[in-house]
Amino acid sequence: MHSFGYRANSLLTFAVTILAFMCAIVSFSFSNQTPSAQIQILNINWFQKQPHGNDEVSLTLNITADLQSLFTWNTKQVFAFVAAEYKTSKNSLNQVSLWDAIIPEKEHAKFWIQISNKYRFIDQGYNLRRKDFNLTLHWHVMPKTGKMFADKIVMSGYSLPDAYR
């Protein structure tokens, strides 16, 4: 501690070390998580086989969700997306993302939205006729400091019609 530079360096490194400990402590804040969601398919807008041979369908979705319980003081944002999941003979699991959103604050985490799918629902092939599928709401809770956690709610029972429209 014999010189200005020595003391300044010592203080700075110790301060940053303590900051690291503080962030480690903060990253252990967990909340009691009780999220809920419902998705309705209001309408199948169209359902066609594309020129390159793959099926494509356009849906109007009604998404209701309450993700407020996922937020803590250490949450920066929650990334939520809806994926259609189904099985084909070629792939045991197909996941097609239909919609996503970034939720920056707790107040915006309880929402109701009616839109057609933000991203195109295109199959790898032409397997979608009479296909049963699940709509899964996934979320990633992104912290300000610490580990990111992800989870989902699976909603099953949706299916596509027999013929193209």
Partner: protein, 89 residues
């Protein structure tokens, strides 16, 4: 800064930083505000810097007692003996 001052400065620095870290986490948790925690800690770091880094006078209240000039003259310094230089062959 004299030895006593250096010891005090080291202890003060550690205590000030640890306490501002603890207070920052507690207040941030209580107010559910990450921003509050960071601001309080930053304030604590600035305070610690102002208290411990500059060479304040109160760190120099126990200066070293160097030997008196009169005493030093009684004990002459050891002389450096001139060495022979060996030439390389």
């Amino acid at each position: 800064m004299d030895w006593q001052g250096q010891k005090v400065v080291e202890q003060l620095m550690q205590i000030l930083l640890v306490i501002s870290g603890v207070v920052a986490v507690v207040v941030g948790y209580a107010t559910e505000s990450f921003r509050a925690m960071m601001l309080i800690y930053a304030g604590g770091v600035v305070l610690a810097t102002l208290v411990t880094v500059p060479n304040w006078p109160f760190y120099n209240h126990h200066p070293l007692k160097w030997l008196d000039q009169s005493e030093a003259e009684k004990h002459p310094k050891p002389q450096v003996v001139a060495k022979k230089r060996f030439s390389k062959k």
